[in-house]
Amino acid sequence: MSFAQKMNAVWEYANPRKFLATTERVLPFFWASAALCLVIGLVWGFFFTPDDYRQGSTVKIIYLHVPSALMAINAWLMMLVTSLVWIVRRHHVSALAARAAAPVGLVMTLIALLTGAIWGQPMWGTWWAWDPRLTSFLILFLFYLGYIALWEAIEDPDTAADLTSVLCLVGSVFAILSRYAVNFWNQGLHQGASLSLDKEENVADVFYFPLLVCIAGFVLLFIALVLYRTGTEIRARRIRALLARERIAA
């Protein structure tokens, strides 16, 4: 099989039946590896890493804070891609995947905000500051809320998919714009990136490796949750179609 053929094979999963069959096979693997990574990463991080010499044991909340913040942004990126696929190729599974990912992303944003507040209290002496990163996440939270509310408010599924897709596209542009706007608007308390490809900037190795395991766990958990929830959405829509058909027959 050539590369182009392999790439084209992705579209087979636009068929809901094929999607359900495959996800049912791979889901147990994702659940298990997510649980394994999270248990290893969190136990390693919480109990087998030293306290930071300035922050004490509060530094350990990093194992929840950083991965959830990472996934909060990546979930929106995933929704952006699936929305584009829906607009261009009209695959229903794609629209449903975007719908399924939104509440997961919302919860990730909330975890990042809450763990950040819990961490900020002892470190900065305040639960909340109008720091650029915090403010951006609050705005992201509002975007998720609006997106989910729009999905829930519209009854016709295709209309809802179209409108939320456009909202996701426009929202992405404004989310990036807001990020630069708040950066300009206030200097931050928040530290710089904890992870980057430039090794110099990273947190120390003792914290780095358990953090990577935790991030892998969050990514796997996100994939498992989205696949599972997409399957639920597909089945819910099938049930609705069956009920409608029965009503017509009766």
Partner: protein, 218 residues
């Protein structure tokens, strides 16, 4: 296009048309602020640009509900969609009419209300400039929100929730221009950003508005 603009303006100015609603709200907000934060003139002077910008933004938000809803109910939008005029142009005209009836009066009223809030002398010019540049973006983005929620029975709350994060960049840069203007600081960067956002919104958002309106009308 001009006929549509004239029609929208005439409807807005007619009794019950919603003209003056935003203006009245703007007036109420700014008059009530000194009662709630206290009458110290130095405090009022420092918050005046922000309060005026926030009041203008909320007044805009308040009138978005009616922007497309009435035309949706009586079928005017269906006619507009089948008319030879592209829907993108129609929503642009709608946004322009909204700006002329809501945004422009706010811009004109802002300096007067600035006196009430003890806005420092150099701030007046920049306040008007920032509102003049920023309110068109508010109208255009608001039209997008109105087009998204036009098919919903009680879309008002959802409309505010959707538009709120979209308004953030405009508000930040707009209020920053007004604040720096009032304090006599250098304001080239936020001014250029505000103008850029406004120009891009006016040029691009009508396409998104027309696209979602077509979805809602099918």
């Amino acid at each position: 296009m001009i006929a549509l603009l004239v029609r929208d303006l005439r409807l807005a100015f007619r009794a019950g048309g919603g003209f003056g609603l935003g203006l009245a709200f703007f007036l109420i907000v700014t008059v009530l602020v000194p009662f709630s934060v206290g009458p110290q003139s130095s405090l009022l002077a420092s918050i005046a640009p922000g309060v005026l910008w926030l009041g203008a933004l909320l007044a805009c938000l308040l009138s978005l509900d009616r922007l497309l809803a009435l035309d949706w109910e009586d079928g005017t939008l269906d006619l507009l969609a089948t008319a030879p005029l592209p829907l993108e142009a129609a929503v642009s005209v709608k946004a322009l009419a909204h700006w002329l009836t809501t945004g422009l009066p706010l811009v004109l009223a802002a300096p007067v209300l600035g006196v009430l809030l003890n806005l420092p002398g150099p701030g007046y010019g920049w306040l008007v400039v920032s509102l003049l540049l920023g309110t068109p973006a508010l109208s255009v983005i608001g039209t997008f929100g109105a087009a998204l929620t036009v098919g919903l029975k009680r879309g008002g709350l959802l409309l505010s929730l959707l538009v709120l994060p979209l308004y953030v960049p405009t508000l930040i840069f707009g209020a920053e221009v007004a604040r720096r203007g009032a304090q006599g600081l250098d304001l080239a960067t936020p001014l250029l950003m505000l103008a850029g956002i406004s120009a891009a919104a006016v040029a691009l958002i009508p396409f998104a508005s027309a696209a979602v309106l077509r979805v809602n009308l099918r």
